[in-house]
Amino acid sequence: MFTTGTKLLIGSAGLAWLAAAVYGVAQEGALGTIGLISAAVALSLLAGVNAFVRDSNVSATDTEAFDTSAAAQATARRSLWPLLTGIGLTMLALGMATLPAIFVLGLIALGAGLIEWLVQGWSERASADRAFNDQAREVVADPLELPVAGAILFAIIVYAFSRVMLGMSTKSATVVVFSVVAAIILALGVLVALKRRISVPVVTGVFSIGLLAIVAGGAIAGLNGERDIEVHETTADLAEANRCGTEETEADSHASQTVAAKSNPAATLIYDGSELEIDEVGDDGQVGTITLPRSNPTNVMFLNESEGEARLVLELHPAVDADGVAAGPERICTTLVEDGGRQIMTVEFDRPSFALEAEGVNYEFVVAGSDAAVEVIVP
């Protein structure tokens, strides 16, 4: 069932697990435990692989198997994997002394190298037929190699391309670059599809050049650094900072106005430079008051039809508790909306208007810096 090699590996793995557990409990040390667990995982993996592939032990009495035994096989062929394993070990040591990242990379290189080494060694002794051995290696290794290689390749492309995108000086430049790259890929795809017979080297060459270009672009852009990424601010930040005046704020230039429109608002407030006009169903063009529901998030649209920029502000007059702490923001507002622009404001009232009237105030929409106002009645 299990060959000697497998037994050795299983034993080592068990020992490593045990050591990890003992060390972990006794020392409560993280690094040592991690190291031992890593070794245990690696050994378990090796044991598993070995059990699965079975090494080519041939019994001395099994004369029929002599021809197929390891001793009868061709000598081992060139291999990349000892090198990779060596690099992995070196990085492991280096990483322990310097950066954890190098340690992890070393671990990965070591694991990959050992697995590949194992598979190659096993396949070279699978039979006397070299072609068959190659085939056997592919069958075992491809399902591992191809997804991993694909994932790595994909990650490289995504990372490099993202550096290019982030390196562009403006957002619009990224749109152009993105479109151009997409168009090139599409065009190449079309060409490949249209040309009935196209040799594999040509396709490989084209792909390689494309890949190189992206990686090179990514490297250059990455070294150049990223453009300034603007902090995302919302009108909620404005309300919190109580900056609902006429002056322009950081948030005004940064808040997104493109997603500000929404279908089916409860009402549209139109500012014509002097007055706020209410446009709501069944109540066209009236000035003065608007009735909005209590304790329900309601969307109100602000449309600026004045000559300059304008900001809609809702005075909330929040309830104050015994310590004089307000239950919510004093007021909320839109960003400065340019001429002809529109923006939605989501409002919610938690007290009816008559509760405010007792305090001599009321809910009110105003335009910052003007006399335009609309009283809100909350039933």
């Binding site: 329900n296 208007s353 008559f354």
Partner: protein, 410 residues
């Protein structure tokens, strides 16, 4: 019976059933939510559009059944030779494509016209805000710039009217509702006045009503809205202009405390202690003379509870699911002829007509009557906020006084 004749008779039955459903349903008078019994111009538009379509559909159906029946009878295997192995004639097939195409084009044109008409909200005479929440409807009447409500100028001071269950509208007026929801999607549907319109949180949807005659028109939430979906009803009460003016004036009358020493006065204190956390009564003041402001958003997940200022002017409670009137008094109102209807409705609820059994049962243990997720473990998802009226452990005495107090709210 031979097979063919059973099939024939079955076809006849099927055809009859369809015709019956189509033709006779239009004559029925009795079900309060009959979709084939329009009582307003919007529903009438739909009706005028749909009955010819039902008729055409019925006729097409009968033709298909007839052809199938003929096949079954005529071409039964009686030892005739193997028929011609043909896939048919092209012209016949094109004809069978063209015929329904023409028919459907004929249906499509008026349909599109009616779709546009039904969505026209211009020139409204009256606007009502409608808000759905689990599992009742709230109506509030916006005050126009000149102080008028729903196109009528109150005789006294103007103010907000907030009701629930029954939406009161004037007859012969184009009433536009502006609807939304506080939690999930509900659908506002009063079949005899118009089709349904979903009320979606975060969106404002409009829909028109136009009642020809005074009366009560029954409706039911038509979009599945959770546990008590079946218990979420609504009624539209149409009053003629004089009665509607009276209704508005009555709704806006200032609050009057019960006389000291009466059971109702005890009820007021109970109400402030037990109910006013969620239920608003406009103008109610506590012992210190402070206005009592309800804060349902601290108690209820939807953030609202019915406003009870004029509770006893309504005929229903708890999502219009239970009647406030005894069966006899209810029939009196529902079956009143249009001239007397307004008077009967405006009389509201008095002690003789009160359906005390259901109201007291409700106060005693509301969740037992209407499932509302009130078990503590079910409230984890809402941080303890209830979904409807919880069990309040009121004593019978407390209930007595509350009923007395509520009866005076008109």
């Amino acid at each position: 019976m031979t097979e063919s004749s059973t099939l024939r008779s079955r076809l006849r039955t099927a055809a009859l059933a369809l015709t019956a459903a189509v033709v006779l349903a239009s004559c029925a008078q009795d079900a309060p939510q009959d979709t084939w019994d329009p009582a307003g111009s919007e529903a009438q538009k739909i009706h005028d559009l749909q009955w010819p379509i039902f008729l055409i559909a019925g006729i097409v159906g009968l033709i298909v059944f007839a052809v199938v029946a003929v096949c079954v009878v005529k071409f039964k295997d009686r030892g005739q030779p193997i028929p011609e192995q043909t896939h048919g004639k092209a012209w016949l097939e094109y004809l069978f494509i063209a015929l329904p195409a023409v028919l459907l084009a004929g249906i499509a044109v008026p349909s599109v016209a009616v779709i546009i008409e039904l969505n026209d909200t211009d020139n409204a005479d009256c606007v009502v805000n409608v808000t759905g929440q689990q599992w009742w409807w709230e109506y509030d009447y916006p005050i126009a710039g000149d102080g008028s409500i729903c196109g009528y100028m109150p005789s006294g001071e103007s103010g907000s009217i907030v009701t629930s269950g029954q939406m009161v509208i004037p007859t012969d007026a184009k009433v536009v509702i502006r609807g939304t929801s506080r939690d999930v999607i509900h659908s506002f549907w009063v079949p005899r006045l118009n089709g349904k319109r979903d009320m979606v949180p975060g969106r404002l949807h409009t829909w028109n009503f136009h009642a020809d005659r005074p009366g009560i028109y029954a409706g039911q939430c038509a979009e599945f809205c959770g546990l008590s979906h079946a218990n979420m009803r609504m009624e539209i009460v149409a009053l003629d202009p004089v009665d509607f003016q009276a209704w508005i004036d009555n709704q806006l009358e200032p609050y009057q405390s019960p006389e000291d020493g009466t059971l109702a006065a005890d009820g007021e204190a109970e109400f402030i202690a037990q109910c006013a956390r969620c239920h608003q009564v406009d103008g109610l003041t506590d012992a210190d003379g402070e206005l009592v402001v309800a804060h349902p958003e601290d108690q209820v997940y939807s953030g609202a509870a019915p406003n009870l200022t004029n509770f006893a002017t309504r005929n229903t409670f708890a999502g219009a699911t239970w009647d406030l009137l005894t069966e006899e008094c209810r029939d009196d109102v529902w079956e009143a002829d249009p001239e007397n209807f307004g008077e009967r409705y405006l009389a509201g609820v008095d002690r003789d007509c009160l359906n005390a059994i259901d109201l007291r049962a409700w106060l005693r243990d509301a969740p037992a009557m209407k499932p509302m997720y009130t078990e503590p473990e079910q409230l984890e998802a809402t941080d303890g906020l209830v979904r409807g009226m919880p069990y309040l452990a009121l004593s019978e005495d407390q209930i007595d006084s509350l009923v007395a107090y509520l009866l005076e709210r008109k």
